[in-house]
Symmetry: D2
Subunit: 155 residues, 4 copies
């Protein structure tokens, strides 16, 4: 598993005033993420969700993006924009699993500025073989870790 | 209103085997839209939805992005990925209004490859004054045009 | 070879007032390409150059991005910004080979608005085996076509 | 001036084995920055240069992106790719001024992985009034700071 920068665990998130989440990191709005309306473009949040998802699934061992690993792909996602964000703002993004099934999961994402949620989203993710078609069960060790840190609904 | 390239109206869409939509355009997957998994990245579809939305709201007169115009911002959006897309594929994206309210609307987007829908999404959009806060009624001429072409639910 | 949309050959480019180029296409500025300064972001032009390069090298048979094909990678590139560009503007991008060597080439790109060049750039590209390291000679048929349409310097 | 995360000064850069630079920061390759060839896309480096430039010019007071501030725009830029970069790699990007003139400057950028330079670039930047046309002298305090930390050539 790669090392990730600026990572926050449950305690680190609580220190930022964020409760109910166990995995996240902090980052900062870049110039390229601001659009012609002078705030963070709505599509950019989905890229942040992606970064959070990719870190989360590696951190808890769902995939290492190797040639033998499952492909975790997105089938459906949503985003809610609660307040605009501006250039150079520092934010925390947190990720958790809400529902864990044998070959899929539903994740949730929250974006926080000074402890206040400014955007959120979720994603239905499917675990596939490298053929990109056949369903594949999660690694048991990953399931165990996610149950432990996020206590998702199971089905 | 600017001219848009590759535009398709109801007849043009039907010629591509797409029925039930009145506004769209065709485009082609670029190298930069392909990700490490060798298909179109899931975030890119939201950028396509954005391009379709921006063209649609200008084409039907909701805003011209001028200093006196409403700002049409997204509050919520979703995306569904029905089939992967690959490099250089030519696709049609279509947009329509499903619900039209005094100061908001819900739009739908469909991405089609050879007449088959491969992705879809929707977006809840709010019309605001230039202050980015105060709600603002749609231009009556835009309402009229959208009612005519898309016959959305009204509320 | 895939079909490409909106392609312009030497005659098509001349009809747009652009001489000295044999391959290009037209496109239109998208909302997502405009930055906080309200014009096309300077990085976006490099993405346009990439799209032009990827189309050009497929159109003239240098690679089809298949598992047996050469990888054409960029070692050095430049961009010159001659005039700002704005939302929804329609532009032509043209590409040509200035220098063709056994396992590399130098390409040039021009962006034109109403026949006037508004940006340009070039790229030093290297042809590699799939290992991403070993130099690989161009396909002879591609060399022949490029010599014919662009008459580049050879070395 | 905003606070920036993960900033490195001359001492911090030297601790990473990087000498001759006085301003930089560390970051990590994201999934969205990897392209179909499985390495960091060549255009992404230019976005990194942009982020470094925007941080640098704010950190040393050339602009705060306010309505009374100069617009610092890019007229020419280059990039050199010395070694490919891969997913999740942690890197340092450093920025410095090579030449400082009354209403322009030439900046240089370096990307380092474990102390080794893997990419570099430069940019010719012009200082303009908010009209985007008229040349404007740099703030004297910014000139003073840049002379002090980077000792650029002057002209």
């Amino acid at each position: 598993m790669p090392d990730f920068i600026n990572t926050l665990d449950r305690d680190g998130l609580e220190a930022h005033g964020i409760t109910g989440w166990s995995y996240g990191f902090f980052d900062q709005v870049r110039f390229s993420e601001i659009d012609a309306l002078a705030h963070v473009n709505n599509v950019v949040y989905l890229q942040w969700f992606e970064t959070a998802r990719v870190r989360y699934i590696q951190a808890f061992g769902m995939t290492a993006y190797g040639p033998e690993d499952p492909q975790i792909v997105v089938r459906h996602q949503t985003a809610d924009y609660l307040a605009p964000m501006y250039m150079e703002e520092i934010y925390v993004i947190a990720a958790r699993t809400r529902l864990l099934k044998a070959t899929s999961l539903i994740m949730e994402y929250g974006v926080f500025r000074e402890g206040e949620m400014v955007a959120k989203g979720d994603a239905v993710c499917i675990s596939l073989e490298q053929d990109g078609k056949t369903r594949r069960a999660h690694y048991p060790a990953a399931v165990e870790k996610i149950l432990e840190i996020d206590a998702p609904e199971q089905a």
